[in-house]
């Protein structure tokens, strides 16, 4: 084949420029700024900065509440992934059985996606309201006096429930389209080869969903880490007290409420490195086991 060499042109750079500017402005610059300020002790009132080396890192991570937050973040993330992926998969499988070949329904179900995230968060707050929340009523009926905002455990449950619930529609849509992408003839071949529908699902359908699941796992971890900020903030109403907070929310609290810019920056740098490491682990270990057809 003949290789075509295009002359130097500014067009590609021009077309890329908006994206590159956004990346530079909203990611690279703040990240660099965070990295720089994590090595300084900032004076919140007079704007003087003193270079303190790794002191911020040592101070932040050795604080007692840092360990607690890290622990909660791990529990929070794993719970959200398991709950929202599990429920979404179950829903998608049942929807798929009904939807095979009926696209009008499919379009109708996709509308779930259109519910705005903040609205979903607010609905969650209402559901767990101590006086009028139906979920609190339900817990009370089970003999569990829920005190969201007061009890550490109860708040954690409510946060996880709302955050997982908000993520279900996204997972559902991806799982559903993944399921619909599996050719009918494969399911039929499996039906001839295996009498148990459950076994068919775990041996044929689920492995074929692996690329979707892997993608969603990455998305959900990122979601649990960063995008749950809004939900947590709405639920805690900015007053953490004795309640559980994730590392990201702690960065916000320490930086903007505690005015400890250096410590907060150090924490966000640690988070950045953690997420980077996590991503590498995911792609190295899990993706190897994922089959892309």
């Amino acid at each position: 084949m003949k290789k075509v060499q295009f002359g130097p042109s500014w067009t590609p750079y021009l077309l890329l420029a908006p994206q590159l500017i956004i990346v530079a402005l909203f990611f690279l610059w703040p990240a660099g700024e965070a990295l720089r300020s994590s090595f300084y002790l900032e004076d919140p009132f007079f704007g003087n900065a003193t270079f303190v080396g790794f002191d911020n890192y040592v101070d932040s991570t050795s604080a007692a509440d840092y360990g607690r937050s890290a622990q909660f973040t791990a529990v929070f993330t794993v719970s959200i992934c398991v709950i929202s992926l599990g429920i979404a998969l179950a829903l998608a499988v049942s929807a798929d059985a009904v939807l095979r070949g009926k696209s009008p329904y499919k379009t109708a179900l996709m509308w779930v996606y259109a519910i705005a995230p903040p609205v979903a968060g607010l609905i969650g707050v209402m559901m767990f309201d101590q006086h009028i929340g139906p979920l609190s009523d339900f817990a009370r009926w089970l003999g569990w006096e829920m005190q969201v905002g007061v009890s550490y455990f109860d708040t954690a449950v409510a946060m996880i429930t709302v955050a997982a619930w908000k993520q279900i529609p996204v997972n559902f849509i991806f799982f559903l389209s993944g399921l619909q992408g599996i050719p009918n003839s494969l399911r039929e071949a499996a039906a001839i080869d295996c009498r148990s529908p459950a076994r068919r699902f775990w041996t044929v359908v689920f492995p074929l969903l692996a690329p979707t699941s892997f993608f969603l796992l990455v998305i959900n971890i990122t979601y649990a880490f960063f995008e749950t900020f809004g939900v947590i903030d709405v639920m805690l109403k900015g007053e953490p007290g004795n309640n559980p907070v994730t590392l990201v929310y702690k960065v916000f609290l320490d930086g903007f409420r505690g005015q400890d810019l250096g410590g907060s920056s150090a924490q966000s740098v640690i988070l950045m490195i953690a997420v980077f490491a996590l991503t590498i682990v995911q792609f190295r270990l899990i993706e190897r086991r994922v089959h892309y057809s």
Binding site: S185, E188, A189, I192, D193, C194, R195, L208, H291
Partner: protein, 394 residues
């Protein structure tokens, strides 16, 4: 009498089967297909099967067919004739609205596909993409709780038979079309079923490979002596593979018979036009006063068989049975204007018009193309008469 050769790729095999019914022994494929003993209980009985969809559409309208032990029956017909639906009803992938299907004497209407003792080759092979060839073959056996050593033995045996031993540890995506086809067959063989179902398995292959795989399927099925249903829209595949052909049209059986029989005595104009390539010429004609009138003019073309009621008929004439001769050479016949010539190598097709109808004739390519005013001749014994309205054979 000249039996002219058919379209290039399938010429040899087709001609062998296309030999007239009077001499079936000429065809080696048919000779090998000795019919099973009539007393044996049929492997499959389809008894008045009807498929009606909830929206009222009817795909299969009361079909009754038996498949004997070791017999290969081909369902053939144009798309939408219900052949695939019927096959899927046998497999258990479609419900049976009415009627009954029995496999080895057992009613299977309510039986799960996995328990019907069948194996199926799909059009796109439907191999499990995340499993190796070995796992693909073993999957069905594993689910039935077959013992590990037994699975290994069966997989090795099937792989050897299909010459896929070298690919056992590859994934389907690393195989060519022909190799995938073999794996799909292997998946059926290891199950050791009482019935093989083939759903247009060759339609994704190129022409050369198709011819080769066709022959392999035939040999394999003979060797394993397992009954089989093979669905295709390709009449050449039907002719070459089948012990018996079932021609379907609009969800109904048009004709059931051995390939030679279906070719020699098509039961209707539909079958006549569908089986054989190029298709049989169908010419409107009229029987009046014991003579045959074609087009506007009464032509002493051929005397109709005795005892046929006067009226309008459709006259059928196979291209390879028609001869185009210069009028100067032989008197009579139907005036023929030559429009186009198609060279097929061994034979050549002469397209033209006779008595207002389009007519195709096939002639030996060794003979010169006839020149000058031409006429169409045919042996009266080679003419088929069909009812002009219903299309059924008279």
């Amino acid at each position: 009498m000249t039996v002219t050769l058919d379209a290039a790729a399938n010429a040899a095999a087709n001609a062998a089967v296309n030999a007239p019914a009077s001499a079936p022994a000429n065809a080696p494929v048919i000779a090998a297909a000795a019919a099973p003993a009539a007393s044996a209980e049929p492997t499959l009985v389809i008894d008045g099967a009807v498929k009606r969809y909830p929206n009222g559409a009817v795909a299969v309208r009361g079909v009754t067919i038996e498949v004997g032990q070791g017999e290969l029956v081909v369902f053939v017909g144009p798309s939408g004739c219900g052949k695939s639906t019927l096959l899927r009803m046998v497999a258990g992938l479609e419900d049976i609205t009415e009627g009954e299907i029995r496999i080895a004497g057992r009613r299977v209407n309510e039986v799960e596909p996995a328990e019907r003792d069948i194996a199926m080759v799909f059009q796109n092979y439907a191999l499990y993409p995340h499993m190796t060839v070995r796992q693909n073959l073993a999957y069905g056996l594993k689910n039935r709780g077959t013992d590990k050593a037994e699975i290994a033995r069966k997989v090795a045996e099937a792989a050897a038979m299909l010459q896929i031993e070298d690919f056992l540890d590859r994934k389907p995506s690393q195989l060519s079309g022909g190799q995938r086809q073999r794996v799909a067959m292997g998946r059926c063989i290891v199950r050791d079923p009482s019935l093989f179902l083939f759903d247009e398995p060759l339609s994704n292959l190129d022409a050369r490979l198709r011819t080769q795989m066709r022959l392999e399927i035939r040999k394999l099925q003979r060797r394993l002596k397992v009954s089989a249903i093979y669905v295709t829209h390709d009449q050449v595949e039907a002719m070459t593979l089948a012990d018996r052909i079932v021609v379907l049209n609009g969800g109904q059986v048009e004709q059931v018979g051995a390939p030679s029989e279906v070719y020699a005595r098509p039961a209707s104009t539909f079958v006549a036009a569908f089986i054989g390539a190029p298709a049989m010429n169908l010419i409107p004609a009229e029987l009046a006063g014991g003579a045959l009138r074609i087009g506007a003019e009464a032509v002493p073309f051929a005397a109709p068989p005795a005892g046929m009621a006067p009226g309008f008929v459709t006259l059928g004439l196979r291209p390879e049975k028609a001869r185009v001769v210069p009028q100067a050479e032989r008197a009579g016949g139907l005036p023929f204007t030559l429009d186009a010539v198609e060279e097929l190598g061994a034979s050549r097709l002469l397209h033209g018009r006779a008595a207002g109808a389009d007519v195709v004739t096939a002639a030996d390519a060794a003979l010169p193309i006839p020149q000058g005013p031409l006429a169409l001749h045919a042996d009266p014994a080679d003419l088929h008469f069909f009812d002009a309205v219903t299309g059924t054979r008279l």
